[in-house]
């Protein structure tokens, strides 16, 4: 019975992940086999042409995405961590209202934010710049980050902070040497998601960085498709490479990922 369940589970997973397999398969397919009917179900005449194209043309895009992702993580933590500490432990008046605003902010469609940002960026001259993109991408993560970190920091035992206070530590000191180290796990969760969202962002990139000299990988792929390009092995190879962060994340930090998905959605 249990063995049967494992077999069914494997079959279901195979069906679910077929598109991912197909992406990998196509990325190894030769140009002349691309329109073959029926297609090769395995890369029988595998080629690395696609990946060569990635190396030749997509490296700058990947570099920009890396910078944008790391910048977004830094900005998000810088803003969210102190706010979460305050909401969780310092009892600000009006803190409830702020949490409510953050919940609402999470629900605003990105395309609408993009239009507002476009208007502002155009007049301030940050349109098509990497810092502009980092700021816009951070709006995907900041409300989530504050809410998650607040929830976690609320669980830090009061005695721990009391002890620090007795030892003469001020609010700032307590934050830096107690709260932050104790919150390591939730900070990792938040950073992973902030990075992944910035890395995957297409809406802001395509509206705010379309004419930029430094463009992220999502636009790299989009240009590929848009040019009516028929080199689908190169497109899919780029897609495979663009999926690496998500894969690494899943392997390295599986439990954080599941935690982040559930966070805020389920009552314990």
């Amino acid at each position: 019975m249990r063995r049967l369940k494992t077999a069914v589970g494997l079959a279901l997973t195979a069906v679910m992940l077929f598109p991912v397999y197909w992406m990998v398969n196509v990325s190894f397919t030769r140009d002349q086999d691309m329109r073959k009917s029926p297609p090769y179900w395995f890369p029988v005449h595998g080629t690395l042409e696609g990946y060569r194209a990635v190396l030749e043309r997509q490296l700058p895009y990947l570099g920009v995405s890396l910078v944008v992702g790391l910048g977004t993580v830094a900005l998000t933590l810088l803003i969210a961590a102190p706010a979460a500490y305050s909401l969780a432990k310092l009892r600000p008046r009006g803190g409830g209202v702020l949490s409510f605003v953050l919940l609402i902010a999470q629900m605003i469609p990105g395309i609408i934010m993009a239009m507002g940002f476009y208007a502002i960026f155009l007049t301030t001259g940050v349109l098509n710049t990497v810092p502009g993109l980092i700021v816009a991408d951070s709006t995907l993560a900041v409300p989530f980050a504050v809410l998650i970190l607040t929830a976690f920091m609320s669980g830090i035992p009061e005695e721990l902070l009391q002890a620090a206070r007795v030892d003469g530590a001020g609010v700032m000191r307590t934050f830096v040497s107690i709260v932050l180290p104790v919150s390591r796990n939730s900070i990792i969760t938040v950073s992973l998601f902030a990075f992944l969202w910035a890395w995957s962002d297409f809406v802001f990139a395509s509206t705010l960085d379309q004419g930029g000299a430094h463009q992220p990988i999502t636009l790299g792929i989009y240009h590929y498709i848009g040019n009516n390009n028929q080199e689908w092995n190169a497109i899919m190879a780029t897609a495979v490479v663009a999926s690496i962060p998500a894969t690494v994340l899943l392997i390295v930090a599986q439990r954080y990922v599941a935690a982040g998905v559930t966070a805020g959605a389920v009552k314990d």
């Binding site: 598109p19 969780a88 208007a119 995957s200 899943l250 959605a265």
Partner: protein, 322 residues
């Protein structure tokens, strides 16, 4: 890290009653405490004002003025009142876009939820490899949307796509998934269902874990079969989590833009355009942008998302209080 702790909404903070004795000293401390508390909040408040409130304000302003590319730069567009909204409502695209938004959202959610729940139940009893397989199911949700969307585009390609190859192998004729107005909306819905299943699976799975196994044992002792156990025990007990999952899914699905735009650009001839893609097309998709109407459509979309968003928050609060 106990994730159950993280899942609680951190809105209410218990305030300890202050004893009469030493109230003044306490008040002074609280006042300085309030300063510190708000000093830590200052960055996020400033951030919200500049990077949320202001763009939203600009968006409302865009929708109320008659902008052209030139007045966009110079900032002297004439006030137009609700003319942009009237234009949007009268547009031939309005009714189809609204209908597509509803179909896209409802059909996506129905399938995501049903499949997600079935998988959650399937995975709820541990078996060999179950944890690993469950983790693999997360992959579609984690991939960048441009990756998923372009993969599906190629799979659904009329001449060389693997889906049509499989159909012809099964004896069915080829379908013009992305290029036929009859099929384009269904194509993007299929891709979107695939992307949304992991979220439903993970959330519903954690909801199932919270149901004590004693309840099942009692039901089994009373002679309830597996099917009955699901409908009489699991489903009712899972209702709160289900409500939250569907409502969050609603808010997320309403704003889906990337997948549709990358796969079909809302076409052919608007057959798969939703409010999100229509707004983008108006603002950025044409050589001559119409920012005003684009912003107007966007604001309508916000209203829809917020309406469901508020319901979600209400439900969640009520559950947290219960």
């Amino acid at each position: 890290m106990s994730m159950s702790r993280v899942t609680r909404t951190p809105v209410r903070t218990a305030r300890a009653p202050v004893p009469a004795q030493g109230r003044e000293r306490r008040a002074a401390r609280t006042r300085s405490g309030q300063w510190a508390a708000w000093a830590f909040l200052a960055p996020v408040v400033v951030y919200l004002l500049i990077f949320y409130a202001y763009p939203l304000y600009r968006n409302v302003e865009l929708s109320l003025r008659n902008y052209t590319v030139r007045s966009f730069v110079q900032g002297d567009a004439p006030f137009a009142g609700f003319a942009n909204y009237a234009k949007v409502f009268a547009d031939a695209t309005f009714a189809p876009a609204l209908w597509h938004t509803i179909v896209f959202t409802v059909v996506s959610l129905a399938f995501q939820f049903t499949i997600g729940l079935a998988l959650a139940v399937f995975f709820s009893r541990n078996f060999r490899l179950s944890a690993t397989l469950r983790a693999l199911f997360l992959v579609p949700w984690l991939l960048p949307l441009i990756v998923s969307a372009s993969t599906w585009s190629w799979m659904l390609n009329s001449d060389s796509g693997v889906v049509n190859a499989a159909l012809s192998w099964a004896g069915a004729g080829p379908v013009n998934w992305l290029t036929s107005p009859d099929w384009s909306l269904w194509s993007v819905i299929i891709a979107n269902i695939w992307i949304g299943i992991p979220f439903n699976l993970v959330v519903l799975y954690s909801g199932l874990q919270a149901i004590p196994s004693a309840v099942y044992e009692a039901a089994a002792l009373d002679g309830a079969g597996a099917w009955q156990r699901f409908w009489r025990v699991t489903f009712p007990l899972l209702r709160p989590v289900s409500a939250i999952t569907v409502l969050l899914g609603l808010v997320y699905t309403l704003k889906v833009f990337d997948i549709i735009w990358i796969m079909t650009k809302g076409g052919p001839s608007g057959s798969s355009s939703t409010f999100a893609t229509w707004s983008y097309r108006l603002g950025f998709g044409n050589l001559v942008p119409s920012f005003g109407p684009g912003a107007a459509v966007g604001n309508l979309l916000i209203l829809m998302a917020l309406a469901f968003g508020l319901v979600y928050i209400r439900v969640q609060r009520r559950q947290a209080a219960a």
